[in-house]
């Protein structure tokens, strides 16, 4: 459920960020006989936190991988600042942080962070505190718990310089306090001008952190917009993301 105060904040922030960064048109992805994405279209605006929400199996990860050029789509047009962006060029405009991966499992957290620092000329110290990384520095990636790994991977994603960052299930594995901390961190990051797109299956989390939402159900976009816009579309006078999602699907 959303409270009125954060919504007002989001709306005022949203009003400043309407320029179109990425336009996704008619992405279709089929696995043999099964169509996982059906003509998915939506727009990502500069500086916003856009939530891609839907239940497990809705096609969120597939959509992210197609957008990142890591999975070939059967049909798609992706425009970056109104220019068509070929799949192999996507890594120049966006960085996608997958969920449930253990990259360089034998390496320590400190080394992995330093590797990204050198690679992108960034600094991990800005995120190390909020993500509580100092105590993990000497641990190999393979030895981390799900939440610890998620925090480390988030730091990697936030260090990348790409205008658009796609985060797959950024709160998965985090406890309540960590989830709130990460939400704050992401909002601060977006406030500096970075555009974020988050894939979230916990609808309440999505309502708390996102400026706008794309609702995905069974490979179809069933709604796109701010919470009030989606409420209007669903014919609801009030209610949170859960009610909207249930009404639209």
């Amino acid at each position: 459920m959303l409270t009125s105060a954060p919504r007002t904040k989001r709306e005022s922030h949203h009003s400043q960020i309407m320029s179109e960064l990425l336009k996704v048109e008619r992405i279709t992805k089929r696995f043999r006989d099964r169509t996982v994405l059906k003509d998915v279209s939506f727009t990502v605006h500069t500086g916003e936190v856009l939530g891609l929400i839907g239940p497990n199996g809705a096609g969120k990860t597939t959509l992210f991988e197609c957008l990142a050029g890591l999975m070939p789509a059967n049909a798609e047009t992706v425009k970056y600042r109104e220019q068509v962006l070929a799949p192999l060029k996507r890594k120049e405009a966006l960085f996608y942080l997958p969920d449930a991966i253990v990259p360089w499992a034998e390496q320590t957290v400190a080394w992995v962070l330093r590797f990204f620092e050198k690679l992108y000329g960034a600094s991990a110290s800005e995120f190390a505190g909020p993500l509580r990384l100092p105590e993990l520095m000497k641990s190999p990636m393979a030895s981390l718990s799900k939440g610890e790994r998620k925090r480390t991977l988030l730091a990697l994603g936030l260090m990348t310089p790409h205008p658009l960052l796609l985060l797959d299930e950024p709160f998965d594995g985090l406890d309540l306090r960590q989830t709130r901390d990460v939400m704050d961190l992401l909002k601060q990051h977006a406030a500096k001008g970075r555009t974020l797109m988050l894939s979230i299956h916990q609808l309440v989390d999505a309502g708390r952190v996102c400026d706008r939402l794309v609702l995905l159900s069974d490979g179809d976009v069933v709604g796109e917009g701010t919470i009030p816009e989606l409420q209007a579309r669903a014919g609801l006078s009030d209610g949170g993301v859960e009610e909207i999602f249930l009404a639209l699907t």
Partner: protein, 440 residues
Amino acid sequence: MPYQHKPQFLLLLTKEWRELLASRSFWLLLLMIGPLVGHAFITAAGLYAEASGIGGGPAALSQGLTPLDGIVSPTFGAYDLAATFLFPFVAIRVIAAEKQSGGIKILLQLPGSLTTKISAKALVLLVAWLVTVIPGLLALVLWKSYGGHLHAPETANVLFGHLLRTMLSAGIAVAAAALLENASSAAIVTLGFTIGTWALEYVAAFRGGFLQQLASYTPASALRYFEQGLLRLNTTVAMLAIILAGFALAGFWLHTGRTWRFRLISTAVTMLLLTTIVYGANGLSASWDVSENRRNSFSAADEAALKQINQPLNITVVLAPEDPRLADFDRDILRKLRRTLPQLRVQYAASSVSGLFEKPEDHYGEIWYEMNGQKIMERSAIEQVVLETIYQLAGVKAPEKSAEAAFPGFPLVVRPRAAGWFFYAAWPFMILIGWWLVRR
């Protein structure tokens, strides 16, 4: 404006090196290679000493005692074993670890092209082989310290042959790892390839003809040329082409964002190119005899006389592929002739596979020489007889008997002191310490 990538090859190389050091398969390879090389070296040195007359026994003719055959090739034979059964697992891990952990999705998005990333992996595998070769080099150092003789060009040639052979295994392993879902499937395919080449050699030994030509490019056959002190351009080009094709295929299949259509077409084009290069390499006759005893060359006087011959020479050999006379003729005569006469054409004409069922009228055992429309038949495969026949056909005066100094041979009666201690104890201990330090 999208983010502009800065290629960071050195950084990628560091990452690959750290990943290699973290790999248990690499440390296992290092742990095992010491005793393997040690056993090969100690056995070779012992046999060499026996042949040289240790313990008052009869010595072999000293001309037959070459360190290339007696020490270098057998000692480095351990690397053939490693290239077949151990190194492919290290190469597979370089690709499969990132595929299985999902790290590939990050790697593909890092700055730099996929070619750069695959090159970093290939370079690290090359460095891995250089580290692996340390026990072999130490064996040679020990041999020198015993007063043993080594001829640098032929030793370097054997090392180069093993480098190509190992990287060829690595190329096939990385292609299999990129193409298949998991590491175990890749290992099966890589070992299957090796067993396939053994089967090809076995069948080719009976069938001859095209199969025999094809079998000369299998890793084991190709390595034999290097072990004989022969550096052949065609073998080197073919092996390099296979290595590059393996890594190129890995690149095509590793990028998950490529369509099946792209991958299949790229694979087909690569295989077509590879076939063309390997087939074309057949026509490259350049080779260098780097052996100290010039075992792959005629005497300088005969080579000079043969170089005067400009006409094509056709040789028809009516011997079955598994007939030992054909093997001798191939090794002692044809290998040298191919290096000297660019217009040599050899036809293997036995009408049966085994030669057992040839009738007398089938001319079994005959060797026909044809030049300028003239034909001469000989049954002898002795070098002097063959050369005289060719001179007679070409109308070239046979050179005077050469006054070149005969190869003296290098007998050495010595026991491999300290070798067992080093290879069976010190080396494994150092590797375990190294592994422990890295794990820390």
